[in-house]
């Protein structure tokens, strides 16, 4: 089981976190088109490389984290400007 280093709690087993998927900007619902909205809902790049994604530390600090992860190696690239 891989570890994820929570900027608040330190290294924890990944099963303490919920994966919220790659970061995606929410379109303004008032101005969005159907295509743009469905792209936001369903289309993910799934890169073979570094992906910026959101995780929720459900069994720990209960904070959402933004994690840069290399999908080839599962290595987590430490974020800058961490809380601690």
């Amino acid at each position: 089981m891989m570890q994820l280093s929570c900027p608040w709690c330190g290294p924890r087993n990944v099963n303490e976190f919920h994966h919220d998927g790659p970061l995606h900007r929410r379109p303004d619902p008032a101005a969005t088109t159907v295509d743009e909205w469905r792209h936001y809902l369903y289309i993910r790049q799934n890169p073979h490389g570094v992906v910026e994604e959101r995780w929720y530390h459900a069994a720990g600090c209960r904070k959402f984290l933004i994690v840069k992860r290399d999908t080839r190696t599962n290595t987590v690239i430490p974020a800058e400007g961490e809380p601690r």
């Binding site: 089981m1 330190g10 290294p11 619902p29 159907v34 809902l41 929720y56």
Partner: protein, 1177 residues
Amino acid sequence: MNLSRTRTTLDRRIAPQPGEVIDRSTPVEFTWNGRTHTGFRGDTIASALAAAGVRVYSRSMKYHRPRGLLSATMHDPGCMVQVDGDPNVRGAHRLIEDGMKVSSQNTWPSLEMDVRGVNQLAGRFLGPGFYYKTFIKPQRLWPVYETVLRQFVHGGRLSRTPGPEAYDKRHAHADVLVAGGGPAGLAAALAAAERGARVMLVEEGHQLGGHLRWSDPETAANLARRVTQAENIQVLTNATVAARYDDNWCAVVQRHPEPGVAERLLKTRARSLVVAPGLLERSYVFEGNDTPGVMLSTAARSLVNLYGVAPGERAVVFSANPDGDAAAQDLGRAGVEVVRLVDARAGQDVVRVRGRKTVESVELADGTRLEADLLVTATGWTAPTSLLNMSGDVPVYEPRAARFLPGGQAGPGVYATGGIAGDGSTDQLIAHGDATGAAAAAHASGIRREHARAVPTTAGGSEAVTPADASVPALPDLAVEEHPELFRSSTHGMVDFSEDVSSKDLYSAVAEGYDSAELAKRFTTVTMGPTQGKHELMNAIAVIADATGTTIAQTGTTTWRPMYAPVTLGALAGPSHDPVRYSEIQSWHEANGAVPLVAGQWIRPEHYGDPEAEVRAVREGVGIIDVSPIGKLDLRGPDVPKLLETVYTNKWSRLDVGRVRYGAMCREDGVVFDDGVTARLGEDHYLMSTTSSGAAAVWEWLETWLQAEHPEWRVHVTPVTTAYTSINVAGPHARRLVSRLAEGIDLSAEAFGYMRVRTGRVAGVDDCIVWRIGFTGELSYELHVPASYGLHVWEALLEAGQDLGVTPFGVEAQRVLRLEKGHLIVGQDTDGLTQAYSAGLDWAIKLDKPDFAGKPELAWQREHGGGTRLVALQPVDPDIVPAEASQVLRPDGRIGGRITSSRHSPTLGRSVCLGQLEPSLAAAGSVVDVRLPDGRTVQATVMDRLAHLDPDGSRLENDSVPDEPRAHPTPLARGPLSVTGPTAELRGWQVAGEHRPAELSLTDYAPVVKVSVRAEPTGAVATALQARFGRVHRGENTLVVGSGPDEWLILAEPCNSTRVLADLDRLTSEADEQASVVDLTHGRAMFRLTGREVTELLASVCALDLSGDLVPDCAALRTTVAGVVTDLVRLDEGARPSYLLHCERSSGAYLVETLLATGRDRGLMDAGAPVGGFVIT
């Protein structure tokens, strides 16, 4: 001379050997196929039988050829035996015990006379793929084939009764995990331990020392002694590092770690992993190479040197290396006549062995035929690179050494040493291991320092941690000895001994087109048997390479996958840790005949015997139901309306204080995922309810909006599901019943209308929240009572309502009641694709709001009208209740919908349903076809409203008059954990009446005041509270726990409750920031674990490294314990380690039961009341 006649009765034990591992003063008696044998303590089954002259241990899988000892290791394919009720026991590894019943497997009528040996004659028809090709057609005959083939299944018989032994699974942490206890592994462990690393050394065999045990027993013993005496080395023998996953998460399997435990899986997080498994000797492929009496040089040497057994009388030794030469010497010393040393290095070769059940003669390439009963081969090594492969390495083939070597690509923190890395003298191997251990320790120390810096639980700074060690010795090179590439003779023989795959089979597989290692493997099953390639991999690759005309390097290996060694399902499963949640009223439900219903983690009463009677009681009188699992979230802050506007589809900006409103939530795809009512309790204070199963998901959904989308909104969400016991009182007499117990709440119809909320005192309990809603369609009040008083209020209601016929009802009656009323259940009447307009929620969707979750999708749905419609249906035949999920058919016979809910309605005396129908079928008054699961088709009418009963809600307009308050017992608070032994009362709490001292104790802290505070991470409140995240501050009357970055839990003794709450209210109201205080005294289960072994106990159920430098005294953290999210606060009692644990209340009983069961072996006891009261400051 016919040597084969002399088997079975011989005593082949020789004079005591300097390195032997048997204790000749302790005989051990066991039976082999019904016959009694005597060995010595320390003997394996195989060595004891070998000492008695037994040659044949098993029959092979396909041809039932006799098989004997080959490698005399755990991975010996010929020594799989049945031991008592356990099949497939590794006979060359398992030690004998008195009274053990050992038998051969899958032989009939006996091992000696196995009639299925006739398969050997048909061998040429049973080539690779025989089963695939033969039994595929005709398919209808498969059951017949299956029955016959099952008789040929290789393996022992599983006992049908559970064995006496348990299986265990726990977590472990190591700075340096060393896989392999040979010279290099031992040296690595010592070097790492000298540098302060916590080392776990894992050895597959029963003794440390590896090959030194037979080549240099004195050095082996010295190293082993130093390792076992080292303080920070944990030595596990008879254990295997079976797998390595991401970030050095390793599966360590311990066989028989202690009496009563068959196997234990240690889920080990290692900062460094040292792979030092040594080398496995491989066999040589030639005709008759699987005849009993053909064995590897390491097998012969271990039999002689470790067990004092002469493996035969006349031996031929076929040697390509010094180990073969040494084997010849050992045999000579053991009194075995070495007829010939056949030297492969001089071009000599063995081509054939003759003999059926044992070797009778050996034929050489030059035509010489030697009479012998033993052929020892030493033709090279296989590097068990498994753990390196699992670490991302790609080992490379080195033709000069005729084996694979590490490719150097294993991730950081993974090291290889010993034979797997190269060859050398004992001193060179030890030097290499020493340097590797030092490097591994340095890496681990770096990771540990990083870890200590990254966790908030340390006291500050990382001084406590071992300093970096710069003096890591340079890694000496291990030379690679030249070794002839020797795999197969000029004849064909067995490659895979477990699967009966010969070199001939591999050639024919390649000829059929399976011309790569991975394809040939799957077609022939080579390397797929119990040995998983450990013996046969190199030979298989060499043969395939030869057959395909490529090199071994080009052919490559098949993939080494976890597990390296067999692991039982019992160990993988381990003790069950499935959290279960109970309401406060569970004891009453159980005592009153409730039929339990498992609803997610919750155990709820389905009914108390007669659900229809319960329905009638609610419709005609009054009923009460325990609805505690309903999710409840406490929302505070000025921006709560913005949050509600965003997550609900309807409008929330003008909800007055004292009002309750229904809302449905959609995901961004417009699919309904939860619903419930939310009440406004105060200016900036709301209580949201969710479905029982959706509570956690809704909470996370709210946090998503608050943290990820709108961090500027000032809202604090606190889950309070189990802080309240929720009781719904429903029926025409509901007002009369509640009014008898309510104080300070005017329950009259005018003062307390439908969809209103009031707070006050119920049955003497303060701070109850009462909302008037109507899920059942009747006048009803939902009481949310501080959970410690849940049972008190429940019993008070039953007592006060006796004359009104008050009846407890269960989930089943509630489901019928709501179905009669046509109220949907999200997840029952909707599914993962049901958008809000398909859920009958048109009235609650406000597309004129600027934004809410899922709005664009719902606008699209309204415009284009996609999706099904939720409708009420009534079968034309009122006695037919179509099963839920029955299909509704279109006129053309295709599926046009389904029944989502159906019941017999006792009120209407007919069946009633809800269903999802295509719009074309959904018009009111249409009659649709419903196909039942039994194939019948019945008709049902689509109704014009969802409610089957009282569609206009007149029953809710009940204007009964409140009764006068009645007397009730004094409230008694009860914690979530059952109190064992005598009880006492303390400030209105029922507590344990005595303290029972125990070395490892568990004490209930239920009455402790627990207040959650939320505020800015670095604001004035944070400063005043003085505890930073991850640490505890001992205040004057309080213990302040920094339980989150912007979250604190304030603990105080019960007597200080009022003062502490007042102080906190003042602190937060004066602060110039969004700050909130929620009393969770009744919402948490809290208990304390104290004792020397408490950390080890927690390691069984908690994955976190709780060592003292990372989690010192006064550390606070939240993680998962036995599957429950739990807060741990380390509060040592002097020198005794102690933890305060708390989790949401309803999981407390489960968590404590699990801990007590887990800690029983360590003497964990429910110690009753804490000594000296609930002093925690």
